[in-house]
């Protein structure tokens, strides 16, 4: 048995006391089973129904269907009317998670209640149940008014409501991750990958068939070529070295900027945005870096000749041996 919090018990005891004209203490004692109930009404069955609730967190909880249970009244009361319990199946629910719905119970109408015999409701027409039923309860669950409090009772009928339990209208499965639009890796990723790889392979083979890799004279430590150039990816650095004191250029640039500075980028840039328009500063800095490194490298490769002097490739030729075999301007 669930422990019902004291304040809720109290609240429903008050309602009961009001309805039956007894004291609150009495009602409370009755509810706790410490004294015999005042009203000799048949205890209605408690029926709990499970309403499917959609699993998706964003979808508002499904229409809660308060189930109004009507007890057959005493002998004089005409045959009970079947109240249609509308079951609303949320169409989109992928994983229906059971949610307990507050169950409202209605006490059977009492003897002195004028029996609503006038209303001829036939069993054949359960659809019409909305039409004044014996106890003028609104048929359960017109989709909008979902709170049990709004049930409209006939004023002259004494009814009590009893709170059985309180359940938050929430799926029991908590969807913490946003649903992501995914596709099968095979074939949607692997096919484009395969095609890219084949394209790259074809490009590399054709390139290698056309361009001969350089092989100069055998290494000779006694003959220094002029200029002596590093591999192209270090030529920006070599170019920078020629401007500044080597101690600064040779160490600060590769080590500080390169290794430490680059690795630290995610820890420096704490802006969580990844939309380009919201990280203009970062993009500007990186673009400056790329442009600077690119310019230095191009100068180093194409515009530096003997003695590291400025040369124009279209006038003096290219002083870069890696390109020698296939671009020659002289």
């Amino acid at each position: 048995m669930v422990d019902i919090p004291e304040h809720l018990l109290l609240r429903s005891a008050e309602a009961r006391a009001k309805a039956l004209g007894i004291s609150v203490e009495q009602a409370l004692a009755e509810m706790k089973g410490e004294s015999t109930p005042t009203v000799v009404a048949e205890e209605p069955e408690v029926i709990e129904i499970d309403t499917p609730a959609p699993a998706k967190a964003e979808v508002p909880a499904p229409v809660e269907t308060p189930v109004t249970e009507e007890e057959p009244a005493k002998a004089e009361v005409p045959a009970p009317v079947e109240t249609p319990v509308t079951e609303e199946e949320p169409a989109k629910a992928e994983v229906p998670a059971p949610v307990e719905t507050p169950v409202t119970e209605e006490e059977p109408a009492k003897a002195e209640v004028p029996a609503p015999v006038e209303t001829p409701v036939t069993e054949e027409e359960p659809a019409k149940a909305e039409v004044p039923a014996p106890v003028k309860a609104k048929a359960p669950a017109p989709a909008k008014d979902d709170s049990p409090e709004e049930v409209d009772f006939a004023p002259e009928v004494k009814v009590t409501q009893r709170l059985l339990t309180v359940v938050k209208a929430k799926p029991i499965q908590k969807a913490s991750a946003e649903p992501v639009d995914k596709v099968n890796t095979w074939p949607h990723l692997m096919l484009p990958e395969f095609i890219s790889l084949m394209a790259m392979m074809a490009f590399l083979i054709i390139l290698s068939a056309i361009l001969q890799a350089p092989l100069l004279e055998e290494a000779n430590p006694n003959i220094t070529p002029n200029p002596a150039k590093a591999p192209w990816y270090f030529l920006g650095l070599q170019e920078a070295l020629s401007y500044w004191d080597p101690q600064i250029a040779g160490v600060m640039i590769p080590l500080v900027i390169g290794l430490i500075g680059f690795a630290a980028i995610p820890y420096i840039d704490r802006n969580p945005e990844n939309n380009p328009s919201k990280r203009k500063y970062a993009i500007m800095m990186f673009t400056f870096f790329l442009a600077g490194a690119g310019t230095l490298t191009i100068i180093g490769v194409l515009f530096r000749g003997p003695g590291w002097n400025w040369t124009y490739p279209w006038i003096d030729g290219i002083w870069f041996d890696d390109l020698l075999d296939w671009i020659y301007f002289e």
Partner: protein, 257 residues
């Protein structure tokens, strides 16, 4: 019994032998249950998953990926291309090792490779241009990662791994540069070594350790050779494994923007 044309008989026979091969104990011991190679492939969501799940290589990928991530325009396949180039370089590199000695003979070996080994020139060119291409592609990959802000939480550490990969790629290329043992090789490496020697405090020691002496000699050649064919590939494979593992653990590809 209806008469079959030769073609039909041939087809039938071929089908039958395929089935018995597929069903044989040997074949089923190779392919895992559910593998399309066991049951044949028909296009269904389940089989699409099995393709990935039952192949150790494809298993680098998850079964499903974000829809925007498969657009070629997002990653430009640059990371994948870096990896692919690395594999091509490994294969061509192993092939080159059959014909190369890191000694005084190095230069002659390269000459012989180009003139008297079948496809020698082509494979050497592929290895060299592929290496240049890999440096470029890794650099472009880094730039695309930056412009997508893909280094942000939770991917910070994978960026650090990436920077290490970039430097390993440069070291691989740089150590390979010396191996042909021609004037281009020795002087480019000398210039690079001199740049390293500008490091304050232990600049000279760094260069000495790298060159196995004060200048580039055949001792340097051996040192660079070992670094190039064994040490750096070994290290870079480890870091690549961490890199790929992190890409998946960090929730797949970043974005969409």
């Amino acid at each position: 019994m209806a008469k079959l044309t030769l073609r039909e008989r041939f087809k039938k026979g071929a089908e039958g032998s395929g089935d018995s091969l597929r069903g044989s104990k040997f074949a089923t011991s190779i392919f895992r249950p559910g593998s399309p190679f066991r049951k044949g492939y028909s296009d269904s969501p389940r089989n699409r998953s099995y393709v990935v799940m039952n192949n150790v290589l494809y298993h680098l990928h998850p079964v499903k990926v974000k829809r925007h991530g498969v657009r070629l325009s997002y990653t430009l396949c640059l990371g994948g291309m870096s990896f692919f180039l690395f594999i091509v370089l490994t294969i061509t590199g192993i092939w080159l090792m059959f014909y190369f000695r890191p000694t005084e003979m190095a230069y002659a070996d390269i000459q012989a490779l180009q003139t008297s080994v079948a496809f020698g020139s082509l494979v050497r060119n592929m290895h060299r241009w592929g290496a240049h291409l890999m440096v470029l592609v890794v650099f472009l990959h880094m730039s695309r990662v930056f412009y997508h802000g893909a280094y942000k939480a939770p991917r910070e550490f994978n960026w650090v791994i990436g920077v290490i990969l970039l430097f390993l790629t440069l070291f691989l290329s740089f150590t390979g540069y010396l191996l042909p043992w021609d004037q281009l090789a020795i002087w480019a490496v000398t210039v690079g070594g001199n740049m390293a020697s500008y490091t304050p405090v232990f600049g000279a020691q760094i260069k000495f350790g790298l060159f196995a002496g004060l200048e580039a000699t055949t001792a340097t050649l051996l040192r660079f050779y070992v670094l190039h064919v064994l040490f750096f590939p070994f290290i870079i494979v480890i870091f690549m494994a961490i890199h790929f593992w992190r890409v998946r653990k960090d929730g797949g590809i970043s974005g969409p923007l």
